[in-house]
């Protein structure tokens, strides 16, 4: 299979304009003859559905939530990047592009990343016009702050609720199109299969989560905007219902899955406290602007933090990375925390954690300023841990957060299946092996508001006059498979809950393919996962029926897909015999313990093709060509 990324010709800075100037168009009178299905209503999905509706397409939009406003984008705290250079600190489109390529450890596509940096400026304009209440300075202009992995202040924010405010902007734009009748909204519907007719994506099969009704929906194109899959780890910062089912079902229908092993472990999360723990809570990375990270110098030092004198503390990030200090990128900060915990210098009751200390910042800026900047985060921390972070340092530890892997897409955000588009976190495209802070919101909105609406007409214009309907036998077949699978899950009647299997699966993936991996650990995981999966299909218990609200059934279906995905993650990690970004193979590290890339052999996107149940997937490679930036060892020292 030839993987054509369809990168437009011309110099990097002209590629997007060249594309737009030569793309085919659909005239306004014809747009209403097309139906586009959008699955997911987070930043990417809501912005795409709203924009396509505004352009005049008929949009059918699906969400498994009761309201499109609840998508997990809502939980993003920190901010959104844009190369506005309002601070006059030397920022530019090129710098944002360069930081993103370097932060991703040279495993992303130059053309996509450059476009993202270009569009970043329009996103802020668009969101402000929508009434997103970004933080402002007293003069009335927009405020900025800095974020991990960057030396400029380019992050726009709305207190610690940036994701919520941006999502509400997109949700409101979507609501406007629902009112206008351009978007038909299907809340509480879960996509359970993709339907392909003559090699083209032509619809989906959904389950109505209230009535259990299985139904097909046809469209001229399908857009997946269903987010990431970090919940494969069970404990992660993702919302509990975030899952991989939509992209996994599409993968089983032929869509390639790219770089599945690239999972970002976020360095600043609240550490787990016990077995009953259901998820982990992220503390915004912006806290690293003012908080100082440290552990005691002595292993096993259990004294309360306030009684440990300065000279017995190790501010290990400031010591090891003087240029970036506490603001090193996430993968570097996460591994550094794991290292000190492995040395026995971890803090808190479980010994799994490091301090994030605001004492100096409070002394320097006053408690009021800290309250203004981070008040709601401090409150949230206190609520969860029962400790007051104004008085005693926060305890943090890394947790699975964002998945850079996802379905393979070309420059037009099209998967290898014609008519199937994948946007936001659900695709693999812009972040390489590691994502910089405040870039996820940027990508979701860039894809939905600006990229997809321009690229999808290139495809649709070639399908004018074609009628689509659910009468094609492919829909019947897909529906039947969906029904059979539900019936099978309901009939096993074993002894263990879906959550039990999910938790056990998560432990395997975290222990063997988490912050670091080795050949041995991955081979072990590839033995353990299939064994547990067999047990799942023998011993899971799903009470109730398929004909009403059945949350156990929803979970069981998702966990079943996580089993298959987990195996692919480990296989991909095993195959990539180098270290890069968040993929840290212990066999490949520099003398001071940093990730050591192998550009000669691994500067490619690993795109996996599904080969059938129980069959080894086939690997396809998209070589990455760097024409403007040059491979360099990432150093933050």
């Amino acid at each position: 299979m030839e993987l054509d990324p369809k990168i437009p010709p011309g110099p990097l800075e002209d590629k997007w304009d060249n594309f737009k100037n030569s793309a085919r168009l659909v005239n306004p009178a014809n747009k209403r003859k097309f139906t586009v299905i959008v699955v997911g209503t987070g930043l990417a999905g809501a912005s795409a559905a709203a924009t396509l509706g505004e352009l005049g397409y008929n949009v059918k939009c699906f969400s498994f939530h009761d309201s499109p406003r609840r998508a997990h984008s809502i939980a993003a705290q920190g901010g959104i990047n844009a190369a506005k250079n309002y601070q006059n600190d030397g920022d530019s489109v090129f710098r944002l592009f360069y930081d993103t390529i370097k932060g991703g450890d040279f495993r992303s596509r130059e053309a996509n990343v450059y476009r993202l940096a270009q569009i970043s400026e329009n996103i802020i304009d668009q969101c402000v016009a929508q009434g997103v209440p970004f933080a402002r300075e007293y003069g009335g202009l927009l405020a900025n702050r800095s974020f991990g992995g960057a030396q400029v202040s380019r992050t726009f924010y709305a207190r610690g609720q940036t994701g919520q405010q941006l999502l509400l902007g997109a949700y409101q734009a979507l609501s406007r199109q629902i009112r206008a009748g351009q978007v038909e909204m299907f809340p509480r519907h879960e996509m359970l299969d993709l339907v392909i007719v003559d090699g083209h994506a032509r619809g989906i099969v959904t389950r109505n989560l209230l009535t259990g009704e299985i139904r097909s929906h046809a469209g001229h194109a399908v857009v997946l905007a269903t987010g990431g899959y970090a919940n494969v780890f069970f404990l992660s910062t993702n919302a509990k219902n975030s899952n991989a089912t939509a992209i996994w079902r599409a993968h089983r229908r032929g869509a390639l899955f790219a770089n599945p092993c690239f999972t970002q472990i976020h360095p600043t999360c609240i550490p787990p406290s016990g077995e009953y723990q259901s998820k982990l809570t992220l503390m915004s990375e912006s806290l690293r602007n003012d908080g100082r990270i440290w552990v005691p110098k002595q292993p096993g030092d259990k004294r309360p933090p306030a009684t440990i004198p300065e000279e017995e503390r190790d501010y290990y990030l400031e010591r090891r990375y003087p240029a970036f200090g506490n603001l090193v990128p996430r993968d570097v900060a996460s591994r550094a925390a794991k290292k000190v915990v492995d040395e026995g210098r971890g803090v808190g009751p479980t010994g799994i954690g490091v301090y994030l200390d605001f004492a100096d910042a409070i002394k320097r800026l006053g408690r009021k300023t800290i309250e203004e900047r981070y008040g709601n985060l401090f409150e949230m921390y206190e609520r969860i841990t029962g400790e007051n972070p104004y008085e005693t340092p926060m305890r943090i530890y890394p947790a699975p957060h964002y998945t850079m892997g996802g379905l393979w897409v070309d420059y037009e955000l099209s998967s290898n299946i014609p008519g199937l588009y994948v946007i936001g976190e659900a695709n693999f495209s812009d972040h390489g092996a590691n994502r910089l802070g405040a870039s996820a919101l940027m990508q979701g909105l860039a894809d939905g508001y600006f990229v997809l609406p321009n690229t999808i007409c290139n495809y649709l214009s070639q399908h004018l006059g074609e009628t689509v309907s659910t009468r094609d036998p492919a829909f019947d077949r897909a529906e039947r498979e969906v029904r059979d699978r539900i019936a099978r899950l309901l009939s096993i009647n074993g002894k263990r809950s879906p959550d039990y299997f999910h938790r056990e699966l998560g432990k395997i993936v975290w222990d063997h393919c988490g912050m670091e991996r080795s050949r041995e650990s991955l081979e072990e995981a590839l033995r353990l996962i299939p064994a547990l999966r067999d047990e799942f299909w023998r011993d899971v218990r799903v009470p109730g029926s398929g004909e009403d609200i059945n949350q156990s059934l929803e979970k069981a279906g998702r966990v079943a897909d996580f089993f298959e995905l987990a195996e692919l993650i480990c296989r991909d990690a095993l195959d990539r015999d180098e270290s890069c970004g968040t993929h840290f193979r212990v066999e490949h590290q520099t003398e001071d313990g940093e990730a050591k890339r192998d550009d000669e052999h691994y500067a490619y996107v690993a795109a996996w093709e599904y080969a059938g149940e129980g069959q080894e997937p086939r690997l396809h490679k998209e070589p990455l060509k760097f024409e403007v930036v040059h491979f360099a060892q990432r150093s933050y020292k």
């Binding site: 709203a50 505004e54 939530h65 009761d66 309201s67 499109p68 406003r69 609840r70 997990h72 809502i74 939980a75 506005k84 329009n122 304009d125 668009q126 969101c127 402000v128 016009a129 929508q130 009434g131 209440p133 402002r136 003069g139 009335g140 202009l141 927009l142 709305a158 207190r159 919520q164 405010q165 409101q172 734009a173 609501s175 406007r176 009112r179 809340p187 919302a239 509990k240 219902n241 016990g274 009953y276 723990q277 259901s278 809570t281 992220l282 609520r383 969860i384 029962g386 600006f450 609406p453 002894k495 263990r496 809950s497 959550d499 039990y500 009470p543 009403d548 609200i549 949350q551 156990s552």
Partner: protein
Amino acid sequence: MRLTLHVWRQAGPDAPGKMVKYEVPDANPDMSFLELLDVVNERLIEQGEEPIAFEHDCREGICGSCGVMINGQAHGPLPGTTTCQLHLRHFKDGDEIYVEPWRSRAFPVLKDLIVDRSALDRIIQAGGFISVRTGEAPEANSIPVPKEVADEAFDAATCIGCGACVAQCPNGAAQLFTSAKIAHLNMLPQGAVERDARARRMVEQMEAEGFGSCTNYAECEAVCPKGIKIDFIARMNRDYVRAKIRSTGA
């Protein structure tokens, strides 16, 4: 710690409901309230019974999915908190806890603790947006917004749409929700153009959805997990009256 739960179980919208008692002899004070329900559910499944249906997602207090009446109080006893952020350390060993779905005619029960809150979406669809096109929006800094205005708009915009305000109101009124959304957009220069039409349409949609009337109990403010102030209701009433008087017909 030992806790006794009395949970509202209702198989479907038309089925009769009843309180069912569950003993949890080994709850951990560090657990969140939803993790307590997780533990009960896992045991129910292993005994072959149907777990308690409840809504939740982010478990970080921001998505607005979760929410139940705990001992008659929306989101439980701790002020400014969603149910997912309520931890058992705020209860005492041996406590009896009553857990019910949101109470409101406009939020019909779907199953157990899950209610239908789609009326809130329809209020937004009536006018809770700024009619801006996704073309070339003006440079973001071309319209300065005084910090005080931006901050106040933010205070309103912080509503998570959980519905606690409606559930706690003796009248089942949605004034706090609707007014917060109207205030957020009407206060900003970007939203001022549609101020009248927005206030009129949203208020009228709210009334059409079967919510009750506001009689200033202020119970909504007391339980709002985001601390939204009832001052916004006064502002909404002013905007609504102004719109009626000006009656531009937009």
